[in-house]
């Protein structure tokens, strides 16, 4: 469960977040959309504590996160892309993570994402797609109650993307709170039940997908969003 109120963040002169509010409850998938530079990644990183907001409140599972790191036990995160140290082996990374989390790994998930085949490899030897598969697995690895996925399917191979979508659906059924950023309208309308559209650091649209569709009679989500934006 994520509650965000009045989040502000400026980097130098540019304003990344300008009073963003967001609520994402248990068992819901909240999709963040918006053009590049609208603040999606900054918002996600704020939830993770990577970006320290100037003002505003972020609560994860009911507790404010400021100055704390333990809450990240409940969070699984998949970044857009990440470079792991070249000499690090996949198996080593998994060991480090389970030592850090002191929690059981989801071995079935590891198999699902076809990780065992590359366990012995160093990250320097892996392709971009393979690295993303590892990142995807890591996000779900410790059965977190909150998932933050930054464009999760964009650089995954089609098979892994399908597994990913399946995992998202399942997690939602299990009562997780999931925040996804995406550029793909189809993907959003397929998976999400809420849409938050960001523009210049603000969330300008925040509605349930069904509600959005009902209001207009239009089926294509993209068109609905465009109309909505014009209204504003």
């Amino acid at each position: 469960m994520i509650e965000i109120k009045g989040l502000h963040k400026t980097f130098g002169k540019s304003c990344a977040l300008d009073g963003a509010d967001l609520d994402c409850g248990r068992g819901s998938v909240c999709a963040l959309m918006g053009p590049n530079g609208s603040g999606k990644t900054t918002l996600m990183k704020s939830i993770l504590g990577l970006v320290l907001p100037d003002s505003g409140i972020i609560k994860v599972n009911g507790k404010e996160i400021k100055g704390s790191y333990e809450y990240r036990h409940d969070i699984g995160y998949m970044p857009q892309n990440v470079n792991y140290p070249h000499n690090l082996r996949v198996s080593e990374l998994f060991e480090i993570l389970s030592e850090l989390r002191s929690a059981e790994k989801d071995e079935e998930l590891i198999r699902e994402f076809r990780i065992p085949g590359i366990f012995g490899k160093k990250f320097g030897q892996l392709s971009g797609g393979m690295k993303q598969r590892v990142s995807a697995a890591i996000a779900f690895l410790f059965r977190p109650s909150v998932l933050i996925l930054d464009e999760p399917t964009s650089s995954l191979d089609p098979l892994s993307a399908e597994i990913m979508k399946e995992k998202i659906r399942k997690s939602r059924q299990e009562g997780c709170c999931i925040v996804i950023s995406s550029h793909h309208v189809s993907e959003v309308s397929e998976m999400a039940d809420r849409l938050a559209f960001m523009l210049d650091g603000k969330i300008v649209i925040d509605r349930g997908i069904a509600e959005l569709k009902n209001g207009t009679g239009e089926i294509r989500l993209g068109k609905i969003i465009a109309e909505r934006l014009n209204m504003n």
Binding site: L48, L50, L52, E70, Y71, R72, H73, P79, N87, E99
Partner: protein, 256 residues
């Protein structure tokens, strides 16, 4: 304290190409110096100059490069339930201790060829201390600059300042104010620069101290006394601690 990360980064650095070649490079120099001088004291003095020149430079530049190269992984680690302090401390301790070990290991050939002496042990201690101090300074300059080029540039400037300019300024001051009693001033000033402090502590242990005449005698009195030892150790510890604390303060406020 969570040492998982520390352990991992430390071993990763120890087997990294850079740290190994640094140790091998120093080992080649120290073996060469020891072989040709064949005299423990002369070896210590020559290696002292090498150590005072190279250890700060390598620690500063490699420290900065390592910091920037690790940034993405640090960011990844920070998405895990682990505090910024822990990650930063792990990075610092891992790098500083692996550079110290490389420096000490690099000097071992001289120890094997020329035998052990208290001066040489002292030299090892100074090498390790300087590794810690200048790794801290490297992390400070890197955490203050998000741009890699500027961070490394600042590290080089810090090196120039502390190993060259500082001494030039002290010489200048000594010459300009040569009519005044300067001993106390010089003692304080040298204790302020870890490179000078290391150099003087070692020089006073060797027979080069005889060349320092009566001026040297007063230095020797001070640095040889318990108070002087405590002051020197305090200065070295502060030099390792203060940049580290400033760096960690910057790091905790950093946005990734």
């Amino acid at each position: 304290m969570n040492i998982t990360i520390l352990k991992y980064i430390f071993f990763e650095l120890l087997r990294s190409r850079f740290v190994i070649s640094y140790a091998v490079f120093l080992a080649a120099i120290s073996a060469g110096v020891a072989y040709f001088s064949n005299d423990e004291l002369k070896t210590s003095l020559t290696l002292l100059n090498v150590v005072l020149f190279i250890v700060p430079l390598v620690s500063l530049i490699f420290g900065s490069i390592h910091f920037y190269d690790s940034e993405e992984f640090i960011e990844f680690l920070l998405t895990q339930p682990i505090s910024r302090n822990t990650v930063f401390r792990a990075e610092f301790l891992a790098l500083a201790s692996s550079l110290s070990i490389a420096a000490v290991a690099g000097l071992i050939p001289a120890l094997i060829l020329n035998g052990i002496s208290s001066t040489f042990i002292f030299l090892l201690f100074i090498s390790a201390s300087l590794s810690f101090i200048f790794t801290g300074l490297a992390f400070l300059s890197s955490s203050m600059n998000s741009e890699k080029v500027r961070g490394i540039g600042l590290s080089i400037i810090i090196w120039l300042l502390m190993s060259v300019l500082f001494d030039l300024i002290v010489v200048l001051l000594i010459v300009v104010f040569s009519n005044y009693p300067l001993e106390r001033f010089i003692i304080i000033v040298t204790a302020l620069n870890p490179i000078d402090l290391g150099r003087i502590l070692i020089l006073l242990k060797t027979d080069a101290s005889a060349m320092m005449g009566f001026t040297g005698a007063s230095f020797k009195d001070f640095f040889g006394s318990t108070a002087g030892m405590i002051a020197s150790a305090f200065s070295l510890v502060m030099w390792a601690l203060i940049p580290y604390l400033f760096a960690i303060r910057t790091f905790r406020r950093k946005n990734f």
